[in-house]
Symmetry: C2
C-alpha cells in the first residue's frame, strides 16, 4: 500500500493543494509516486499494489498510474494522520486477501538501488510472516539529523534474515542537536523511515489492543465494504478516528516490533534543501534547475518551472518560482514554508496561491 | 528636450531592450517619461517640448505622449552618449527656433515639488539668456554618494537669481567613499544631475570649440534638415561621432559654465534599491510592491508584475519578478545587474530574456 494522501506543503510553491509532492517530479523526471511504483516492478504485481489517497487527488493519480486497477484505490474521506489511514488500508486489504503480508510505503520518498530494496523487502516479508511481528525499516543515519524520529536497535535476532533484523529497544521522538549527535555516534540508532511490513492480522491485532475504539469503527467499516452503505459508514467512522500517527498510536506501545536495517540508500526529500543531497551540485554547491545566470552565488537551490532566475551575491538561499508564485528563503528557515502556506490558507485574498 | 534614448539596464528584469526605464512606472503609476512631461505643464507648451530618442522606442513613446507633436521627435540613428545626442538636439531646435533657450532633461529622473522645479527652471532660463553661459543644475547631496559626478561651486554670482546661481570651480568624476564623504561635509560640492540649460547658440559655440570635428558633421546635418537626404546625412555623420558625454566633452572644458543650486528634491532612481528612498517602507524597512507573505524579512525590495512573492529569513535583498524572469540580488551588488544583462545579450539561448 502506497501512502499518497499527503499534502507536501513544504514544497510550495511547486506543491499546491491540488498538486502535492507525490504528484511532482521532485527528484527525477517522473512524479515521485510513479517512481515508487516502478521500484516495485518485478516484485509485486499491479493487482497487489494499493494506493491510499483521497477523492481530490484520485483523478490525477489514476492518470499517472493507469496500470493500477481502479478497485485498488483506498479513499480516505478525510486526512486523519497515519494510524487511521494505515488501519483502514489494513482492513481493506484483509477483506480482499485475508492474512496477507502488507507493506506500507510513502509515495514521496527516494530510494536508490531498486534491486537491494527489493531484496530487503523480500527479507522483511519473510520476517513478518515467520514472526508475526510488526517490522519497521530502520535507516542508518547519514548525518546528524534532528528532523526524524529514531529507532533504538537491540540485538540481531538471528542470521537467517541476512544478519540485519534487530530487536527494538525503543522508539525516540525527534531529538535536539546534542541528542541527535549522540545517536549518530552510538551507531545503533536508526532513522524511522515510515515504511512498515506486517501481516494484516498482526497490525489489526495491534490496533485492537492499542486503539480499541478505532478498531470497533474499523470492524463496522469492514462489514460495510461492498454494500450500498459503504461510503456512508466509512465517512461516519472516520469522523470519530483520532488524528494520530501509527508510530505514536501503535509502534511505540507494541512489544511485538522488529526493525530491519535498510541496506538501500534512502532519502525522504523532505524539503527543497534536501535536493542538494540527491541532485548534482555545481562547483559552488548550488543546485540549479532553471535557466539561470548568476554572479557570486553559493550553496543555493534555484528552481523554476520556466523562465530565468538571476542571482547576484547570494548564499544559502532557496529560490523557487512556480506559476504565479516565488519563494525566497534562507535554507535554515525552510520548514517555515508550512507556516506561509497556513497563512495563505487563512487569507481570502491570497488563498488562491495555494490551490 | 527630454532625453529618452536610455537603456535602463539596471532595472532588468522589468526593463527590457524594448521597455527601458523611462517607459516604466518605476516611482508612480505613470511611466517616468509621462511624469517628466507633466512636470513641465503650465511652463512649456507641448509644441516646445522635444523628445530625443530612437526609432525602436518611438511608437511606444508616442502612445504614452500623444500630446507631443510628431515633428518634435528627434531620432538618433544610434546611441552615441550624451554629447552627440544633445548636440544633434541643439541643431534640430536651433533650426526650428534660432537663438532659443534649450533645457535638457533626462526622461527617467524623479523630481518632487513641481512648482519649485518650474520656478528654478524659469530662473535658469533667464540666467542662460542673460549671461550666455552653460547652466547646470547642481543638487545638494542628501547623503555620501559615490555614484554621481560632482560640481565644485565657487561664489554666488549675484542676488538677482534668487541667490542660488554659482560660479563653477571644477567638475569632479565619481569619487571614492573617502572623497565623497569630504564633498558631503564641505557643502559646496553638488551632484551633477545631468540637467542643463543654455541657449542653442551657446551650446553650439561650445561644441564648435571643444568638439570641432563633430561640429562640422552637425553643420552638414543642419543643412540637410528638411531635404530628401536628411536621414542619410544624419546616419552618415552619426557614425563618425565619438561616444562621449556632454560633461566630459564640453562642460568640464568650458570656462563659461554656471551652476544653479536646485531648490527642488531630486532623485535619479538609478536602481531598484533607490526605491527605498522614494517609496513608503514597512516597519522592517521593506519596500513591497507585490502580493507578499513574509517571515523575518528586513531591508528588502520585493516587486512583481503579478503573483505572490514569499520571503523567509532574508535581509538586504532585491527581489524582482517580471514576466519570465526573476532577479534575486544582494542590495550592495545591484550595479552588477548590468553585467547580467550583458551576459544574457551574449548568450544565444538566454538572449530572449532581455528583449
Amino acid at each position: 500500500m502506497i501512502m499518497a494522501g499527503g499534502k507536501g506543503e513544504r514544497f510550495w510553491p511547486k506543491s499546491r493543494v491540488s498538486k502535492p509532492k507525490q504528484l511532482l517530479p521532485i527528484v527525477s523526471n517522473n512524479t515521485m509516486i510513479e517512481d515508487t511504483v516502478k521500484r516495485l516492478e518485478g516484485l509485486a504485481e499491479y493487482k497487489n499494489i494499493f494506493i491510499s489517497t483521497n477523492e481530490s487527488l484520485l483523478d490525477d493519480i489514476r492518470k499517472i498510474l493507469p496500470q493500477i486497477p481502479t478497485e485498488n484505490y483506498i479513499l480516505e474521506p478525510f486526512g486523519r494522520d497515519t494510524a487511521p489511514a494505515i488501519a483502514f488500508g489494513a482492513v481493506f486489504i484483509q477483506k480482499r486477501d485475508p492474512g496477507s503480508v502488507m507493506v506500507v510505503l510513502p509515495a514521496d520518498h527516494l530510494i536508490m538501488e531498486k534491486d537491494i530494496f527489493q531484496k530487503d523487502l523480500t527479507i522483511a516479508q519473510n520476517l513478518a510472516r515467520d514472526t508475526g511481528c510488526l517490522i519497521t525499516f530502520g535507516i542508518k543515519p547519514a548525518r546528524i539529523e534532528t528532523g526524524y524520529g529514531y529507532i533504538e536497535l537491540g540485538e540481531v535476532i538471528n542470521t537467517e534474515y541476512d544478519n540485519h533484523a534487530y530487536e527494538v529497544i525503543s522508539f525516540k521522538e525527534k531529538p535536539d542537536y546534542t541528542l541527535a549527535k549522540e545517536y549518530f555516534q552510538k551507531g545503533n540508532f536508526m532513522w524511522n523511515s515510515g515504511m512498515f511490513i506486517w501481516t494484516t492480522n498482526a497490525i489489526l491485532e495491534a490496533i485492537e489492543k492499542y486503539l480499541p475504539e478505532m478498531y470497533n469503527g474499523l470492524m463496522e467499516i469492514e462489514d460495510s465494504i461492498g454494500t450500498a452503505d459503504e461510503k456512508e459508514v466509512i465517512r461516519k467512522n472516520f469522523e470519530t478516528f483520532p488524528k494520530i500517527s501509527i508510530d505514536y498510536g501503535v509502534m511505540e506501545k507494541s512489544d511485538n516490533v522488529l526493525s530491519l536495517k535498510a541496506q538501500y540508500t534512502w532519502d525522504d526529500v523532505g524539503s527543497w534543501s534536501s535536493l542538494s543531497r540527491v541532485n548534482k551540485m555545481d562547483e559552488n554547491n548550488n543546485v540549479i534547475r532553471s535557466d539561470w545566470k548568476g554572479i557570486d552565488t553559493k550553496n543555493s537551490i534555484v528552481i523554476s518551472d520556466h523562465g530565468i532566475i538571476s542571482t547576484i551575491g547570494i548564499n544559502n538561499l532557496v529560490i523557487v518560482k512556480d506559476g504565479d508564485a516565488v519563494l525566497v528563503a534562507d535554507r535554515s528557515r525552510e520548514q517555515e514554508v508550512k507556516k506561509i502556506v497556513q497563512e495563505l490558507k487563512d487569507n481570502n485574498d491570497l488563498k488562491k496561491y495555494i490551490l
